[in-house]
């Protein structure tokens, strides 16, 4: 999710002037983009020392916390938008995290690698776990402990009580609206509490 075009596509999902919480904000590139181009403010949460430093260099607010310990720092409905880009698949308790996201923010935006992208399906058909640009890890050393598909998320969102108002795929910097579960390497959803 560090490709500039991807960031700009995601940024368009965030209403201008929003108070934003970016969970797993990485080097803060998206927060800086939202600040500079959409007049947004807020915080990133990042556990990694190197990425934290990159955020501070960019002058974006960053809080060093482990997301698996929850969002107790943040009050209910304290953000307009909560972003979770390429983060959800690294967290132990995906469902609890989604509920937390809905608790602290009015709008949630998530993205994650779509395991049902056709090359992944092909790879599994051939009997091997996929190793791709979006899923670059071997099965035995991947930080992606929760692999899911575009279609899976729709089911989970319903279970958690989220109303999806925007859903599309991303592949190589382009939006994929046709058969995203098959044709997109990354799934993107915007949702609100229903």
């Amino acid at each position: 999710m560090s490709e500039r075009s991807d960031l700009e596509i995601i940024a368009r999902l965030v209403p201008p002037g929003s108070r934003v919480l970016d969970l797993g904000c990485g080097d803060g590139a998206l927060l800086a983009l939202l600040r500079d181009q959409r007049n947004c403010s807020g915080y990133g949460v990042e556990i990694d020392d190197t990425k934290l430093l990159a955020c501070i260099k960019r002058g974006v607010n960053v809080l060093q916390r482990n997301l698996d310990e929850g969002l107790s720092l943040f009050d209910d409905a304290s953000f307009d938008v909560v972003l979770q880009l390429d983060t959800l698949q690294n967290l132990r308790n995906t469902e609890a995290m989604l509920r937390e996201t809905a608790r602290v923010g009015r709008i949630g935006v998530v993205s994650f690698p779509n395991f049902a992208h056709w090359p992944n399906r092909l790879s599994v058909l051939r009997g091997r776990m996929p190793v791709t640009k979006v899923l670059p890890y071997q099965w035995y050393d991947t930080p992606n402990i929760r692999v899911g598909t575009f279609a899976d998320f729709e089911v989970l969102a319903h279970k958690v009580g989220l109303r999806i108002d925007e859903a599309f795929g991303l592949h190589e910097g382009k939006v994929v609206r046709r058969w995203p579960n098959l044709l997109a390497s990354t799934a993107v959803f915007r949702f609100e509490r229903s």
Partner: protein, 399 residues
């Protein structure tokens, strides 16, 4: 990266009485301070460094002829260092009640003509901030680029943002806490009892008796030292190491290396630190509690603040643990204030804030670079920078 070189401590006398939180007042007082670097023409690049329990205004550099007397935060402050004196005008101030040059219990009480001793009024973190603010007035600094401190110094930095919200652009609170826990207060109380029950304490007026309650000071310092280190670091440095190869089977001699270390630290401390100052400063720690007048609600306490914040904690600090820093962060976030928070995985316990861990100093360097860009828009303080009136704040750089 260099040193600021030889520095000269300065002092300034204030004839206007300082009203204190307790209701008492200091009729007049002196503050000892040091400065490093040059104030720019806009007077916008001043950074105040607040000290903790046993430190002073001697933040960086050395004194001529006393090369071993290195400032307590010299690894942070200097040309090219994270708090870069080529870009910032850095000020260290000794707190009231201390024993290093600012008015304290060893000084003569104008009311009695005798040393204050136990009569020195109880001072609080807020009182210190008020006194520091008057020094900033005198130095012609309307707004600080930043105020930074570790531990008790961090509490002062936080208090600045509440008492002087418009005079602080950035607040950097390292290894600090929004107040002391019962356990923290308990440690302070044991230390105070060690001092007060020393037969040479004489109710705080030991100066008149020509003695110093060194035994109490030693025990206080030994206790403090235990709380500044992590269990792991103490184990790594001393473990169960013995002073001698064979046990001496004594209950009173030094048998383990940790005992020798603590006794040495206690001895050193009792030679230079004032017992009444120890009582005053630990009490200031105990009393600090900005949430108190807001029913314990720290979020409401920070409502007046408008500074941008950097909060730093250390994973193995059990004296002021990361949990306490997170309370500060939460209150700042609740108020929608700009804050970044680094939780440094360092093994050294509370002492880590004084050490130059690469991740820790990396974060401070990056943050100060950002502050420098804000307050020195042209980049360098450079040719247009000038020094405040030389009688007040000369550039303290050796040739």
């Amino acid at each position: 990266m260099g040193s600021v070189g030889h520095v000269t401590p300065q002092s300034m006398h204030f004839a206007q009485a300082l009203p204190l939180q307790s209701g008492a007042r200091l009729s007049d007082y002196t503050l000892a301070f040091e400065t490093y670097g040059a104030l720019n023409a806009q007077r916008s690049n001043a950074v105040l460094v607040c000290h903790a329990l046993n430190a002073s205004h001697h933040v960086a550099g050395t004194y001529a002829g006393q090369e071993r007397d290195v400032g307590w935060w010299d690894n942070l402050v200097g040309p090219g260092k994270p708090l870069d004196t080529d870009r910032f005008f850095v000020i260290g101030v000794n707190n009231l009640g201390s024993c290093f040059g600012s008015t304290g219990p060893m000084d003569v009480n104008p009311a009695s003509g005798q040393p204050y001793g136990a009569a020195f009024p109880v001072v609080t973190v807020e009182d210190w901030v008020d006194a520091q603010a008057r020094l900033m007035d005198a130095l012609g600094i309307e707004q600080l680029a930043a105020v930074i401190g570790g531990s008790l110094g961090g509490m002062q930095a936080l208090a600045w943002t509440l008492r002087q919200p418009r005079r602080v652009r950035h607040c950097i609170a390292v290894a600090s806490a929004p107040n002391l826990s019962a356990q923290n207060i308990a440690f302070n109380e044991v230390a105070r009892r060690a001092i007060i029950t020393d037969p040479e304490f004489h109710g705080g007026d030991y100066y008149a008796h020509g003695v110093v309650p060194k035994r109490g000071l030693r025990v206080a310092r030994m206790l403090g030292h235990i709380t500044y280190l992590s269990d792991d670091v103490m184990d790594a440095r001393f473990g169960r190491g013995m002073r001698n190869d064979e046990r001496v089977y004594s209950t009173q001699d030094v048998e383990f290396q940790i005992e020798g270390y603590l006794r040495h630290q206690g001895d050193k401390f009792s030679e230079y630190f004032d017992a009444n100052t120890y009582l005053l400063i630990t009490r200031a720690l105990d009393y600090f509690d900005p949430a108190r007048e807001h029913g314990g609600d720290l979020t409401r306490a920070f409502a007046p603040a408008s500074a941008r914040f950097l909060v730093v904690s250390f994973s193995t600090d059990w004296r002021f643990s990361p949990l306490r820093s997170r309370e500060i962060v939460k209150a700042l976030v609740d108020n929608g204030l700009d804050v970044s928070y680094a939780e440094i995985d360092a093994p050294h316990g509370h002492d880590a804030f004084l050490l130059d861990d690469a991740r820790y100093h990396g974060v401070l360097r990056a943050y100060f670079e950002r502050v420098a860009r804000e307050v020195n828009p042209s980049g360098e303080p450079g040719a247009h920078s000038r020094v405040v009136g030389s009688a007040r704040a000369p550039v303290l750089r050796s040739s």
